[in-house]
Amino acid sequence: MIKLEDISGMMHANGYISDPQVAMSVFLSLQLEKPLLVEGPAGVGKTEIAKVMANVLQTDLIRLQCYEGLDATHALYEWNYQRQLLHLKITEHDTGTIEEKEKTIFGESFLLKRPLLEAITHTRKPVLLIDEIDRSDEEFESFLLEVLSDWQITIPETGTITATYIPQVILTGNRTRDLSDALRRRCLYLYIDYPDFEKELTIVKKKVPGINEKLALSITSFMQEVRRLKLEKIPGISETLDWAFALAALHLDHLDKTVIEQTLGVIIKDWKDTRQVQMSLSELMEKTGVHPRVQPT
């Protein structure tokens, strides 16, 4: 069993900078075998937790991406109707009773496993990531509740399948819709916010090896200031990292006005936001201590 003290280190080794609250939540969810519901703004590393957890546990990650209109068949299983039909066609002239034929076409090889069934029948304890659960419909949410509590799925043609290993479940949400209390009660809850300066700096340094120390510092402080502006789409850590990668690839060692203006598209993804950042660029640069380079006259 994994100890609480080790969790941060193990996640760090897999490239995830956690804090005590994240470590505690992950630890509890492992210990109690409870699903972990992770909420927070876009791009702060919600999905990443699941990936890292799969790495830490050295197991597979099974992902169920939710969207509006997702229903049970897409999440559980489907019969491979075409294959069944073709099989019958091929064996048309065989001598066999109808019962025998029926038995063969409702066998394992004609079953298309979708993520939930896949997770339940997996040969190792997998990590099941249910991404953006708030985008699915209420009906699907209540269906999910049933699966998450019983860990068994009934297929009318073959019978009930019970989980060999209970998957480690991570649900993520963006708060586009309020999730039901019933679902919340079954999960542990974790809210990840935008990181503070130190954490973001550590993440940049860890994820972008070989980045100039000074550049990392100014990128981080610039991003921290940008988040204070009232933007429509606030850039997350993934944007910071993209930007850091981009600037590191350009072999820059500091930020200046031209560079920021040219690469702004990496962090700001909205036309109005771009305008706003451009307008307050001088102010931002002053705050972050990035000074426009003095041109020799």
Partner: protein, 366 residues
């Protein structure tokens, strides 16, 4: 483990429950179990553990620190004192008196209210909401109910593909199987396309809307009951989300609950700031399928610049914005208050809601 710990955790859990947390014995037991097996008695781990176990949503996290500190300050150092009483919310009680009076038919008897749209037959549908007494409440609720039900079950004329076995989509089936030599291997189904809209109601409950807010509460309640994809906010000087309260089964139980839990009934109006707060905290809820309904008379004390800015943002993100103004029912009404003027360019429909007839007309815009 200190002997008093289980009792204290239970007490703490009770305190959280009084503050609106969804915490029960199960969570307490869970916390204790982990504490004992993992031996996590240092302060930091203890704090994070309780936070992870008891919090279920973002609002819980925000309140947690203060509650944790107030409860465990003495206890963690080993002393035992009686639990602090849960914060009382009595002082908020008087804020919705106007509504309960309205609902009970008291209070406004001597208000000389005349309206331009009083229907001569005296039918309920034509009556102005501001003079409606509780004798008509039941009927009104029934009418709203049927209106919202109609809206919820509306389908479009077009069909869409579905995976459920319903109507066969012959054209698509044939087209798809043509490639495979005409053998009908794959079947495709269709169903009438559902008009899936989300509603987001923002209702002004300031003093100038006092006469109407009771009715709109009923309106929002009726909608919420039949149409699950509804989010509801009220605002005056502050913005508050009341969706969870409207999930109660009985309307009569909602009013006292709202008195207790929310602030800002019948105060002034700061539309700009409230919209600001809305975009910042709940902007995610608005998407291209969302119809935003703002119910306000547009009387505003704050600056107009934020109104314009935020209305623009909401307008861009949403499907459409409907502004319902009870005053717009009067024939001489023009959108000339500063707040209304600022918002006007970003509104798709400005419609009156002063009686049920006008309400029925609104449904068509949705």
């Amino acid at each position: 483990m200190p002997a008093s710990l289980p009792a204290n955790i239970l007490k703490f859990c009770t305190l959280l429950r009084h503050n609106g947390y969804q915490a029960g014995h199960e969570e307490s037991a869970l916390a204790l179990q982990v504490l004992v097996t993992e031996n996590l008695f240092d302060n930091i781990n203890f704090y994070h553990l309780l936070r992870a176990v008891f919090c279920r949503k973002k609002e819980d996290l925000e309140k947690f620190d203060a509650l944790f500190k107030s409860f465990w300050r003495d206890r963690l150092t080993g002393e035992t004192s009686s639990a602090p009483p849960p914060p009382k919310q009595r002082e908020k009680k008087n804020k919705a008196i106007a509504i309960s009076q309205w609902l009970n038919g008291k209070g406004n008897d001597d208000d000389p209210i005349t309206t331009a749209t009083w229907s001569s037959e005296g039918r309920l549908e034509g009556r102005d909401f501001s003079v409606l007494r509780d004798d008509g409440l039941e009927d009104m609720r029934r009418i709203i109910h049927s209106l919202s039900r109609k809206l919820a079950s509306r389908t479009k004329r077009r069909y869409e593909k579905t995976n459920r076995v319903t109507l066969p989509d012959i054209r698509r089936t044939l087209r798809k199987n043509m490639r495979k030599g005409g053998e009908l291997l794959e079947l495709v189904y269709r169903r009438p396309k559902r008009n899936k809209i989300k509603l987001l109601l923002l209702c002004d409950v300031s003093r100038s809307m006092e006469l109407y807010s009771g009715f709109f509460l009923l309106f929002m309640y009726a909608f919420r009951q039949v149409y699950a994809a509804t989010e509801t906010f009220i605002f005056s000087t502050v913005l508050e989300r009341i969706t969870p309260y409207l999930q109660q089964s009985k309307f009569n139980e909602i009013l006292p609950l709202l008195h207790q839990q929310t602030l800002g009934w019948n105060g002034g109006t700061r539309i700009g700031e409230c919209l600001d707060a809305f975009v910042e905290q709940n902007g995610n809820m608005v998407d291209k399928k969302t119809i935003v309904v703002i119910i306000s008379d547009g009387w505003d004390q704050g600056a107009t610049a934020p109104i314009e800015h935020n209305m623009h943002l909401i307008h861009q993100r949403s499907r459409k914005i409907l502004w319902l103004n009870p005053l717009a029912g009067y024939t001489e009404y023009r959108p000339e208050t500063a707040g209304m003027k600022a918002a006007y360019p970003h509104i798709d429909f400005l419609a009156p809601v002063h009686n049920l007839e006008s309400l029925a007309r609104i449904i068509r815009y949705l």
